[in-house]
């Protein structure tokens, strides 16, 4: 029972990453695509935790820690480029 509910939650998160990517395809300006990339990053952090729980290794959580910091630096760099250049 617990496992089935948990796997349904993972499938819904996978569908969410697909929807965010459709906005990246459609987006009229580059800023829309950056917003879609930001949302995809946050959803994929959740998906990494889901994979770590499904495959039963604690060590995979460290990847989510690294990703949470690095993606922030990348998004801020793109925002500064959009505004006036790095």
């Amino acid at each position: 029972m617990v496992n089935i509910i948990y796997q349904i939650a993972g499938a819904i998160a996978l569908a969410a990453i697909l929807l965010a990517f459709i906005r990246m395809i459609k987006g009229p300006t580059a800023a829309d695509r950056v917003v879609a990339l930001d949302a995809m990053t946050i959803i994929s952090i959740s998906l990494i935790i889901f994979l770590a729980a499904t495959l039963q290794r604690v060590i995979y959580i460290d990847i989510a820690l690294v990703y949470g910091l690095i993606s922030f630096v990348g998004i801020v760099a793109i925002a500064r480029y959009l505004e006036r250049g790095i």
Binding site: I17, L18, M24, A30, T54, Y60, I63, Y67, A77, I78
Partner: protein
């Protein structure tokens, strides 16, 4: 379960690669290349290689995008002056 994850993420990766090639705007192409690296680091976790996933997340998705943005910035600045 892992087969479904690989199929969905692979389809998104192929679509992002085609988007990065056919896109006119250079910034949008760089963003799509960053999305490819993000999804590749998810696939490395499924392939049981967490060290590669960590490196790909830090270097492929973070640092490569910033290096591309530096180059685009140089080109745009030259454009403004000349």
């Amino acid at each position: 379960m892992t087969t479904i994850i690989i199929a969905v993420l692979g389809a998104i990766m192929i679509a992002a690669a085609v988007l990065a090639i056919v896109q006119k705007s250079l910034l949008s192409a760089v963003i799509a290349a960053g999305a490819i690296s993000l999804l590749a680091s998810l696939l490395y976790i499924v392939l049981a290689a967490p060290d590669v996933a960590m490196t790909e997340a830090a270097i492929g998705s973070g640092l490569t995008t910033i290096v591309f943005l530096f180059a685009l910035n140089k080109i745009r600045k030259e454009d403004k002056h000349g």
